[in-house]
Amino acid sequence: MDFSFSEEQNEFRREVRNFLEEEIRNGHWEPTCDAWVQGFNPGFTRRVAQRGWIGLTWPKDYGGQGRRHIDRLILTEEMLRYGAPAACHWFGDRQVGGAILSFGSEELKREFLPRIVKGEAYFGLGMSEPGTGSDLASLQTKAVEDGDYYVINGQKTWTSCASFSEYFDVYARTDPEAPRHRGISEFIVDAKSPGVSRIAMIDITGTEAWNDVFFDNVRVHKKYLVGEKHRGFYQVLHQLDYERSGMERLMGNYPLFDAIVQFAKENKLSKEPVIRNKLAQLQIEFEVGRLLIYRVALVMEEGRAPNWESAMSKAYSTEFEKHLAGVAMDILGPYAQLTSGSKFVPLRGMALHSYLGSKGYSLQAGTTEILKNILATRRLGLPTS
């Protein structure tokens, strides 16, 4: 066992921090909660790309750096610590690029990976549907073969970043007769295709957090089928393991953590035993969660897809995020209810945003209930009947 980082890794962390601090000094953006998924900033994504920090772990052949998963975790950890607006490239970098790398044809790899790496292709996910949440295999969107094309019809929902996504990673039923897990396929769909439309969904914080995405006779060339036809469900499970694996589940609201600790110190609240106790407990929970997530990266380092490991870290971490927001609200007292822009609003409204927003954290990318099912059956071997 060794809990240390190598000198190169420490140096890399410093490099990332210096870059982010300079970005903030130059007034490019200010640290924000949820910026990894809501911070749309093409300029930032371009500058990150110029440093080679998108697709960091991918092979050099496709424009990546062939670096270790721990390096990527260091990179994302720092991005989250500074609340950097990384949403344009986050989904492509975290999971869609990886899915193309694992399952896609050589042609797909050549078309998309170098563009993701350059920060030129933004992705959204087309998994959930109005009638399809946890039971993903029940999805109804259809893709029907027509010559060299598939014709896609249906509706996807809860698609993050959809308003600026240039591509969607869409799962659609290709064999309605087959058992439902065995008739689903994965496609990359150009968001500009005729028949694609979007309607924004406003979340409880008042933010446009998702879109409904509609597919009305959308024609997709066969070369945009990812992996094997009808194997999409197995591919999505693999992708979800990565979707759940990262530090964003623990540190999506790190700017709030920083700010509330600072606030408590400056206002002498941190001398009050109850508040000291609560903030220290948050710190403990944070440190523990961080170890669970580093474990996930080490699993990837071994060349395995993280499975129950990322289910565990995600289920744990979203509870931390809720706890953090709750404690911050309690510390701020009546000021906590003031919305961003109001007179007297504390901490730029971050606590309220997190408090309301965090209700959804344990739903997205696998509800906590689904994640615990995964832990129970795959880690512990408990029977399903």
């Binding site: 809990f3 403990i284 059956t377």
Partner: protein, 374 residues
């Protein structure tokens, strides 16, 4: 960064697990709980011969030249087996402290005997009215009498003092600021022991020092400035207790999952019900996080890195994780788990005792708060 054990540590774990499965049945644990001494001399000697007592001591004293991290693996297995006896007192509280702060002469004199299993050591720190581990709660005192010191006072909750050969006594050497650590002959004149009846059946003692003479040569570390050494001893002990608890919790998770797979109600294993599955998932999360935070602290101690915060995180987290794990373990086991017919109670009682020892979650949250600059 690596979270896996080395091959050597895996071997140590396996040897320890097999040996303890053979020698430390629950029947044996029960006998030891009911016995006066609380340990078997024969088993103690066998552990010495296996090199366990000396594992983390330098070879020049007869030790195994391994690290505190290696010792952590062994402690985890001992926690898993509910091993009774003075291993923790002798090695973690006594020997490691002598190695840390003793003079070369003291190490030469005491460590080889300790490592061979000939002498038992323990730490006499806490006192009646004990609440927190702070210097001001030490009132037992040592007064100078020419070449000797004389110790007077009462120590409470001292593990294995009744069978110890030497006590590391933490005493006040100056009215307000001075703390010293003395190595006292446990069998010498002026000492009185009573063994307390405890939840875990371990042997915690009251030790009364009535004008006990201790030669000046038996001062460990720096006179009057012993508190920082005591803090290090407490840190090491806290992490050691975490290691034992991790072994304990891991075993309880396995027992509970096995039970959930076997126990049938409504014609199906109760482990197929989602509510039981989620309880088990919560337990597994607590066990894994307890393991990583514990080993992080153990690794830092082993490497000699400053780790006040990491030790505090571990002990605070593991203590409270263990409460959650046992609440669920008992709920899943149902009524049989609250009887003495089932083994679960051995683990429940030990985990709670370990949580109380060397600082609870409130104590360590305050440490974390200070480390955060609050």
């Amino acid at each position: 960064m690596k979270l896996a054990l080395t091959e050597e540590q895996e071997m140590l774990r396996k040897t320890a697990r097999d040996f303890l499965a053979d020698k430390c049945s629950k029947k044996f644990v029960k006998q030891m709980e009911e016995s006066e001494t609380g340990y078997s001399r024969e088993l103690w000697q066998e552990m010495a011969e296996l090199g366990w007592i000396g594992l983390a001591f330098p070879g020049k004293y007869g030790g195994g030249d391994m690290s505190f991290l290696d010792l952590a693996v062994l402690l985890e297995e001992m926690g898993r087996a509910c091993l009774p006896g003075p291993f923790f007192s002798t090695v973690v509280l006594g020997g490691m402290s002598i190695l840390d702060i003793g003079s070369e002469q003291q190490k030469q004199e005491y460590l080889p005997k300790l490592i061979r299993g000939e002498k038992i050591f323990t730490l006499a720190l806490t006192e009646p009215g004990h609440h927190n581990y702070d210097a001001s709660s030490v009132t037992a005192k040592a007064t100078s009498d020419d070449d000797n010191y004389v110790i007077s006072g009462t120590k409470l909750f001292i593990p294995d003092a009744h069978i110890a050969d030497y006590l590391l006594c933490v005493v006040r050497t100056k009215p307000r600021s001075g703390i010293g650590i003395f190595l006292a002959d446990a069998k010498g004149p002026g000492m009185k022991y009573s063994v307390l009846k405890t939840m875990a059946g371990d042997k915690l003692c009251e030790v009364v020092f009535d004008q006990v003479p201790v030669p000046r040569a038996n001062i460990l570390g720096r006179l009057n400035q012993g508190w920082s050494a005591v803090q290090k001893i407490i840190q090491r002990a806290a992490v050691g207790k975490c290691c034992e608890m991790v072994g304990n919790l891991q075993r309880v998770l396995e027992m509970t999952v096995d039970y959930a797979k076997e126990r049938k109600q409504f014609d199906r294993p109760i482990g197929s019900f989602q509510v039981i599955q989620h309880y088990c998932a919560d337990m597994a999360t607590d066990v894994d996080s307890a393991r990583f935070s514990t080993y992080q602290a153990a690794w830092m101690l082993s490497e000699g890195l400053p780790c006040t915060k990491e030790v505090a995180v571990a002990k605070a987290w593991v203590g409270e994780a263990s409460e959650r794990v046992f609440a669920l373990a008992h709920q899943i086991h149902g009524a049989i788990g609250v009887t003495i017919e089932h083994d679960l109670h051995y683990y429940t009682r030990r985990a709670k005792a370990a949580k109380l020892a060397f600082g609870d979650a409130d104590f360590y949250r305050e440490v974390v708060a200070r480390e955060m600059g609050l």
